[in-house]
């Protein structure tokens, strides 16, 4: 039971740990409560803040929320856009959560995502025109993973070799990698008058709209299947493989894992490479499925939002998928409500949700522990 409980974020692991619930009905119930309560609390707080913001603009909250739902899940185009945005967020959310399971805070998903998208576009530009899709698409997908993994490996190696804190290294790398990509695209590869490369010659992925007319106009494409497969694969890796078990052990107690014979440094490097690869894969949604070229700054914060997705999804692959859909709904919904309230409202709500989950996780844990100690349940 305790293995399926959500792991603690790294800083919290430095705090005194509550005793793990004993296996059994009660342990499972409290583990579930510990996992699900913080996102619910956060949602409630976000709703209240949202109401206040809407009221300051002199609109009716009910009207705005109705518009938000209608503009997202209420019609095929809106739904398509939600699926499109969720695809990237599933990848970046998985990238952050895999790091967290290993006790590493990967703030670098933004630049890993950009590097993945860039590598995919370069692969698509290098391939000969007319390369069969069955070869070209997997090659471009592999390139995206490799691009992200290369960026992710750096903080992993620096932490394992020199003890450099991965949070600072990934933040600094974001600036370095994005500046580098900006330079190489602007100075060497851009189509004149633009900040994007030429269109790839092979490796594009069809949109959902190509076979389901209702999605017409939306950017949703079949790379979402890769995202779902990646979520399944991450679950399988973490829960069903020896390497995944080691990764989780390192995340919970690096010293104990080391004592148990795990090479902690190696696990860190591997975890950051996998995390980078996952974030890099996010690039295929935009590059293979939508634009068919690499555009400077296409990431637009999706890497940072991955942190929110991992947090709200409580670091579980299924949770990450659901949280990605939630944040994608918010961000698409912002456009739907723009007529009444500025779309910037959803950015405020995103921040509120993250803050509320972060503050309620330790609080919920404490309350549950107290009530268990009192024998209330």
């Amino acid at each position: 039971m305790s293995t399926s409980a959500t792991p603690l974020p790294p800083a919290a692991s430095a705090a005194p740990q509550p005793p793990r619930p004993v296996a059994g009905q009660r342990g499972m119930r409290s583990a579930l409560e510990e996992a699900l309560l913080p996102p619910l609390v956060a949602l409630l707080i976000a709703l209240v803040v949202g109401d206040i913001l809407i009221l300051t603009f002199g609109e009716s909250p009910r009207q705005v929320y109705r518009l938000l739902i209608e503009g997202t899940w209420g019609n095929p185009y809106g739904l398509g856009q939600v699926l499109f945005k969720a695809t990237t967020l599933i990848f970046t959310g998985l990238a952050v959560s895999l790091g967290l399971r290993a006790g590493l805070f990967n703030i670098g998903a933004e630049s890993q995502l950009a590097a993945g998208g860039f590598a995919a576009a370069v692969a698509g530009l290098t391939l000969a025109a007319g390369t069969p899709a069955i070869i070209a698409i997997p090659l471009c997908i592999l390139a995206a993973a490799a691009g992200g993994a290369a960026v992710g490996a750096i903080p992993g190696v620096l932490k394992a070799r020199f003890g450099a804190h991965e949070v600072i290294v990934t933040i600094m790398l974001n600036f370095i990698v994005l500046a580098f990509l900006n330079w190489i695209v602007a100075a060497r590869m851009a189509v004149p008058e633009t900040l994007h490369t030429a269109e790839m010659r092979a490796g594009t992925v069809p949109r959902l709209a190509d076979s389901m007319g209702a999605f017409h106009g939306s950017a949703a494409n079949w790379t979402i299947l890769v995202a779902l497969a990646a979520a399944g694969l991450v679950w399988w890796y973490l829960e069903r493989t020896r390497a995944g078990y080691e990764l989780r052990a390192v995340g919970l107690q690096p010293d104990a894992a080391e004592y148990g014979g795990v090479r902690v440094g190696g696990v860190w490097i591997r975890a950051m490479m996998f995390a980078g690869a996952l974030a890099g894969l996010g690039g295929i949604n935009q590059v293979l499925g939508y634009k068919h070229y690499y555009e400077d700054a296409f990431t637009g914060g999706a890497g940072f939002l991955g942190i929110a997705v991992a947090l709200v999804g409580r670091n579980h692959p299924l949770g990450v998928v659901l949280a990605a859909l939630f944040f994608a709904t918010l961000s698409q919904g912002g456009l739907a409500i723009h007529a009444l309230v500025p779309k910037q409202m959803v950015e405020v709500l995103q921040g509120i949700v993250i803050l509320a989950v972060a503050t309620s996780v330790p609080e919920v844990r404490r309350l549950l522990r107290e009530s268990a100690a009192r024998g209330v349940r």
């Binding site: 974020p9 790294p10 800083a11 919290a12 430095a14 705090a15 913001l53 300051t56 603009f57 805070f105 703030i107 620096l158 070799r161 020199f162 003890g163 450099a164 804190h165 949070v167 600072i168 290294v169 933040i171 600094m172 790398l173 600036f175 370095i176 500046a179 580098f180 900006n182 330079w183 100075a187 940072f304 942190i307 947090l311 500025p342 910037q344 409202m345 959803v346 950015e347 405020v348 709500l349 995103q350 921040g351 509120i352 993250i354 803050l355 989950v357 972060a358 503050t359 309620s360 996780v361 330790p362 609080e363």
Partner: protein, 291 residues
């Protein structure tokens, strides 16, 4: 003449860094992670713009900017200290919130998604020329911030407590220091100081623009780490990073090095410092730990 212009430009560019880094040093030395500097600056820039716009007086702008920093700092402090939330997550949330809130209220107050109307600043139209920046009292304040914080941390009882709760909170508690209270004070003070960096930007450019801090809070954080959490060294790092930018601006016509590579300098140096190639950067022992 060119050298003088270069030096003065370096000073100008360094002011926001100096404010933010001096604030960040206090919070980090008290054991609270300062990823929030960017958000503090942005909040300060926006509230200062509101104050200066509606009053027509830059000093009211400064006061409002400080109030904004105070609020943002308090939010960070409550989440990190009272609720023991993960400080890195809180930092990211506060930064996101600052971007979202300033954008939202930019729409509400000024009906724009990019910038505010023109606001009064300290350097008026008529003061131009090489030494114009020195007409701005915030420049002087910014230059004083680092020495003041160095004195505060190194020579005062409060500074001793800050260092104690950042290195060994348990020991500090044993000798009667109220750890949460010292951390609250440190974080809120960091909010106020960092926000002044944003205030300077807004008043200097005579307007608020969306995301006008443009990563300066992270450059300040880089300076803190590169300066190994020592205020004086962090200040020197700020000047160094500003000099690199200033040099790049001076060399713009020559096109010697792409600007992107110059902008990487602070971040590359920080990673190098963290990796310990030129002397190890060791953070305060209790940095990021809830209690």
């Amino acid at each position: 003449m060119i050298v003088l212009a270069f030096l003065i430009q370096t000073l100008r560019i360094s002011i926001p860094y100096l404010f933010a880094a001096s604030g960040g040093v206090i919070a980090e030395r008290a054991g609270v992670v300062s990823l929030t500097l960017e958000g503090f600056m942005l909040t300060g820039a926006f509230t200062a713009t509101l104050g200066a716009y509606y009053s027509g007086d830059p000093w009211v702008g400064v006061l409002c900017g400080v109030a904004g920093g105070l609020l943002a700092g308090t939010l960070h402090a409550i989440a990190s200290i009272r609720y023991r939330a993960d400080q890195i997550v809180v930092g990211i949330a506060v930064n996101l919130l600052a971007v979202g809130i300033t954008r939202f209220f930019l729409r509400l107050f000024f009906e724009s998604s990019s910038n505010s109307p023109r606001i009064p600043g300290f350097a008026g139209e008529e003061t131009s020329g090489l030494f114009a920046p020195f007409a701005d009292p915030l420049v002087w304040l910014g230059l004083l911030a680092i020495p003041a914080v160095a004195f505060l941390i190194g020579r005062t009882p409060f500074g001793l407590r800050v260092r104690a709760v950042g290195e060994h909170p348990e020991a500090a508690t044993t000798v009667g220091v109220n750890v949460p209270r010292v951390r609250y004070a440190a974080v809120i003070l960091s909010g106020v100081l960092a926000s002044l960096g944003g205030v300077y930007l807004a008043l200097d450019q005579h307007q608020f623009t969306d995301q006008m801090t443009a990563g300066r809070g992270f450059i300040a954080l880089a300076a803190i780490i590169f300066g190994r959490w020592d205020p004086a060294r962090a200040g020197i790092a700020c000047l160094l990073f500003a000099a690199a930018e200033s040099l790049q601006i001076q060399l713009q016509t020559v096109q010697a090095i792409p600007s992107q590579f110059v902008s990487m300098i602070p971040y590359v140096l920080t990673i190098v410092a963290l990796a310990g190639v030129v002397g190890r950067a060791v953070p305060p022992a209790a940095l990021g730990k809830a209690d």
